[in-house]
């Protein structure tokens, strides 16, 4: 059975007829063709599918699209400014070599954005703890931590 689901993604209203069991991440990747949100493990461990739902970081592989009915979703494609300039958190990842193969990066950035809103001046320990739900198979954690600390400071400074 299919049903209609509607939500706002990156500020744009979207809707589609989908199967009830469709995961939010499948809806984003397959229906909307926004493939920046990745499926790394399909078991809510790796965090590559992290998006924001109503301003909060969630793992889009762990909810069905129906649960996001009417919600405001932000994916990695909606993070940079409209003119293509990187968001301070994205810029911090670039400057601090916080990515290698880049597969985990969208999830890392989405999680870091939510974290930095609540921790404008985080300690290294707090950043490391915030990464509990995001895996990097390149094992680039050291520079990811540096990036998030720099990104959080830049976000706080630009307020």
């Amino acid at each position: 059975m299919s049903l209609k689901v509607s939500m706002k993604v990156n500020g744009k209203p979207v809707s589609a007829d989908i199967e009830e069991r469709t995961l939010l991440v499948s809806f984003i990747r397959e229906n909307l063709r926004l493939t920046g949100t990745h499926v790394g493990c399909d078991t809510a461990q790796c965090g590559a599918c992290t998006v924001h739902m109503n301003g909060k970081a969630i793992k889009s592989c762990s909810i069905v699209a129906m649960q996001a009915e009417g919600a405001d979703i932000l994916t990695i494609e909606g993070v940079a400014h409209a003119d293509g300039t990187l968001h301070p958190m994205q810029a911090a990842f670039k400057e601090n070599h916080g990515l290698q193969c880049g597969f985990c990066t969208p999830g890392m950035v989405m999680n870091a954005l939510d974290f930095a809103k609540q921790h404008p001046s985080p300690t290294e320990q707090e950043v490391r703890e915030s990464l509990e739900g995001n895996l990097c198979r390149c094992t680039g954690y050291h520079n990811i931590v540096k990036s998030i600390m720099a990104g959080a400071r830049a976000m706080a400074a630009s307020k």
Partner: protein, 70 residues
């Protein structure tokens, strides 16, 4: 003195697309008529293979096929 890349920090060209979600990984590719391969491996850790039948998968989709290899 000439500009040298040795020991210098070289900005990566690929970072922008990875950071904005516009990188293209294998699973992001969508071509017309695209299909997927599935590999069936032995479910037994130690066993003799007597025969492999692929009849059950032929005919499901006429344009796709099965192959076997030992």
């Amino acid at each position: 003195m000439t500009t040298s890349l040795i020991g210098a920090r070289v900005p990566r060209k690929e970072d922008y697309r990875f950071l904005t979600g516009s990188g293209q990984y294998t699973d992001d590719v969508a071509l017309p008529g695209q299909t997927y391969a599935a590999f069936v491996r032995s479910p037994h850790a130690h066993a003799n293979i007597r025969r492999i039948t692929i009849d059950s998968c032929s005919g499901i989709t006429p344009d796709l096929s099965c192959a076997r290899a030992i």
